[in-house]
Symmetry: C3
Subunit: 202 residues, 3 copies
């Protein structure tokens, strides 16, 4: 069951990340190809870099056509119904946050399977969650949002540490996954509502 839930959330996150890429493309007046490319790299950029660094090749999304179709559909829907989609920013935020939660957990799992140290496995989790959005912003010729706004990555970090600590304490995986995802989800939601930010360099 845990497996299938992670799978489902992975697809949900892929959809939400793609939409965020396609919306960025629309804002920059890219054409349909630009939207597809940006949708793809936003959705699969993090997992791709994680897998290339770990040596899990061919990288994950090349094996599972479902990702491919979800991304194509998400870009086309954004292309056709953008005005409607941007009227529901909370829904987008909701799916996106499910996405980063599950991306973080999947990244840590893959890191642990590759038998790297726990702290770098957690970094693989954060990488999975943040690198797609960073590439999206670079391709739009913007400074990555995540470097100066939102505590998004901090949520992934806290959730990731919780996940590995519970796992090492022999807590059953289904509970660790759920708790970690909940923590990431909660921190991010609260941080956006209450405008929490990280300290800046002085």
């Amino acid at each position: 069951m845990t497996e299938e839930l992670i799978q489902l959330f992975d697809y949900t996150g892929t959809f939400a990340f793609t939409v965020s890429g396609a919306l960025a493309a629309a804002e920059k007046k890219f054409d349909l190809f630009g939207g597809l490319f940006l949708g793809f790299v936003t959705a699969i950029g993090g997992g791709t870099f994680r897998d290339m660094m770990l040596g899990n090749t061919p990288v994950a999304w090349l094996h599972d056509l479902t990702f491919f179709y979800i991304i194509i559909i998400a870009v086309i829907l954004t292309f056709l119904f953008r005005p409607t989609i941007i009227r529901f920013p909370k829904a987008l935020f909701f799916f996106d946050t499910i996405g980063i939660s599950v991306f973080t957990i999947i990244g840590i799992q893959k890191g642990m399977q590759a038998e790297i140290h726990i702290p770098v496995a957690i970094m693989m989790g954060i990488t999975t969650a943040v690198v797609g959005g960073i590439i999206r912003d670079v391709l739009c010729n913007e400074i990555p949002l995540i470097f100066h706004k939102e505590i998004y990555a901090t949520a992934c970090l806290v959730g990731g540490i919780t996940y590995t600590m519970l796992l090492l304490s022999q807590v059953p995986e289904s509970i660790t996954v759920l708790l970690a995802a909940l923590i990431i989800f909660t921190i991010r939601t609260l941080s956006v509502r209450y405008n929490w930010t990280l300290p800046k360099f002085k």
Copy 2:
């Protein structure tokens, strides 16, 4: 014979892509190292990402010194004879278009050898053809040209679909390669002449 023709076109494309990178470097007033770096990543960026994603490592150009020498020579020629080179944009366009045609086909072939699904194999073809130019533009601090101008990637897509469909229908490889390359070449040439563009997001 097909093999050797692909090889030859691969070298031609590498040369043309390098020149496009070196010209971009010149426009931005980079120094010789900047020109070499930009020439290299433009020429080998697409194939490198493809190979890293597929796990074909060491990546292709590390095995074959010919690429190395072609790139060095192309940068030096651009460095010495830029005014002459830019007086023949049609020649550049011609070689560049040969390049994307053959890069697309090689990318698809490598994808199929790695036994990934056909649609993602076609994406590996497009990746091979477009990613070098995207990195070039990012390094020049510009929004990638291909996201808002020209239907270049669409030509690769149509050619790539044709290639795999003919191949799966048991048409001999020499014919499929030639036909696919011809289609990519024709669509791109017509699209530039008649100013075809893809629809933009509204």
Copy 3:
């Protein structure tokens, strides 16, 4: 002994590169996460791309937690003591130059272990030394410094050629490493003092 010295210099360079990334983050007013991310990619970006291209995966820094801790500490120190750190640009330059010297040599060694041709092995050395800084600048939305200023990469090239030539002439490794590092160090230092630059495209 040579091994351990290289190891020590590798750590020194990692520290200096991280500080340069964190300082760039501070200048752009990134938050702590932005500083950590930029510190990391500046320090490990070059080696990561080298290892992904060569197929040395999981990439080097995932195996050795020391890198992880050095980077974290370097970012935190920069975060806390930035005003003090930037008052000693010569110290920074000194450590940074040790870094590029040893990164170049390590890159060449890894290339030779992967049995690629000598010229591309030297390129792997230069890649290790320069790519982290290039990614840092791209993430800050700047044109990479190294494309239009300083002859840093040229120093790596001359040192790299020296290194491989001495090695192929059976000179003991300890001497080749020291000499190559010294050459890189000297050329870079002189080039900065006397404002040497590479010719630009005309």
